[in-house]
Assembly symmetry: C2
Homo-oligomer: 254 residues x 2
């Protein structure tokens, strides 16, 4: 079987954050599968085709991409950020496991990318500077009770929390509920960072506190970082504050 | 004050995984500070200087870099992987907060990079495909009891766990102890991935189980990913297995 499938991370949005490895893999593909807005970031070369699909159709998209690769085509599946973080790589693996046995023999590569929380963190300092977790707030793929249990476990144990998929039209209340729950485990002045579309033209960063955090300030293109009781919010005369979590526990307890 | 300081993520090691933004920032700097082996990855252009220091001297290195930037120099501090993940960005922020007031007015930028767990995950499939955490096993900067508490919390709540700084000459037993502890919370057949020097010439990947995982198989250049009870290890006829965590909880419980 001569076809291959490559799952490619486009990073947060700016081409300055797209790795050379990803650029090369995009160039090499015969056809690119992906969610429409991600495909729109890629300039097709002559002879390349695109297969856009809607958000939420990941397994179906992965299966169609695998089927075409099995016919001998060089197929790319594109993801925003890193394909291994709440994105297409797991969907492709699952479709491969569930699909025809011949798919298991396909050449499959994953090209990593800068995932959203890293890009948001870099904009404000180093909020992920100590132990942290990444948690999807979507309860489409797990019960909401599991989300709550993980939020409690992470906050209680002192992990910084990066929230992916915070809100959507079909899931309007989850983020606000997450903030309410976290207020029971973390001080009200815990720094919270909203990073919207980092690296793109409509980038917006908001730094607030857990007490003041408002779920309605987010959308699907927002990644939210909730600090710990150790996370620092440092005012600066030039107006660009720093938010960071010291590497040492208790670094500022004297 | 005209100086500036940029903290630059070099990614896992291969230049194919170095972003154009990082390449440009490296070119622009007058002087590069960093741990020697990271600086060795960068080709200096004419007129550039390097200030290598040993591992473990992060706050001192950060302070010297900030002091030189405050004199009007364009200073780069280089980090392996992503500077915001157990690396130099938090050290620079902490040194800035503790240092002379004038440092707060410096122009400070962080350039993100592909962090180790993303590169390791991409090599084997998508083990971070569901909620996950990143945890440093070093007890230089926090008590070991806190590490144990976080391992328990993460495993009990169903987070995949990426272990950074797993072992060193001064910390020989921590990784083995972590595996022993995790065996009390996760099935023995939970997939465990050892990723050594991914993207570099001496790359080695080992896929094993929690039951069989041996702490002596790691070194400072290894990132380890411990799955959950949901993580799949799929044999393939071409000999390259896939390890991934399905996006849906209970995807394979029928």
């Amino acid at each position: 079987m001569s076809g291959k499938l490559t799952v490619i991370g486009l990073g947060p949005g700016s081409v300055a954050q797209l790795t050379p490895e990803a650029t090369e893999a995009l160039q090499a593909a015969d056809v690119l599968y992906g969610y429409g807005p991600y495909l729109d970031r890629v300039s097709l070369r002559t002879g390349q085709r695109r297969q856009a699909s809607d958000n939420g159709e990941e397994i179906d998209r992965a299966s169609r991409a695998l089927a075409e690769a099995a016919e001998g085509t060089n197929v790319a599946v594109v993801s925003g950020g890193d394909p291994g973080v709440f994105a297409m790589a797991a969907a492709v693996c699952e479709a491969l496991e569930r699909g025809p046995g011949a798919w298991r023999d396909l050449e499959l590569s994953i090209v990593p990318g800068i995932t959203s929380m890293l890009a948001v963190a870099a904009r404000v300092g180093a909020p992920l500077g100590h132990d942290f977790c990444a948690l999807s707030l979507s309860n489409n793929l797990k019960p909401w009770a599991v989300v709550e249990q993980r939020l409690k476990a992470a906050a209680s144990a002192g992990f910084v929390i990066a929230l992916y998929n915070p809100i959507s039209r079909a899931r309007p209340w989850q983020l606000q509920r997450a903030f309410e729950l976290l207020r029971g485990y973390l001080p009200g002045n815990t720094p919270v960072v909203f990073g919207h579309a980092v690296g793109r033209l409509d980038e917006r960063i908001l730094i607030t506190t857990l007490e003041a955090a408002d779920g309605s300030g987010a959308d699907m293109a927002t990644c939210i970082i909730v600090g710990t009781s150790e996370t620092r919010h440092l005012a600066r005369p030039n107006g660009t504050p720093l938010v960071y979590t010291p590497r040492s526990l208790g670094a500022f307890n004297t």
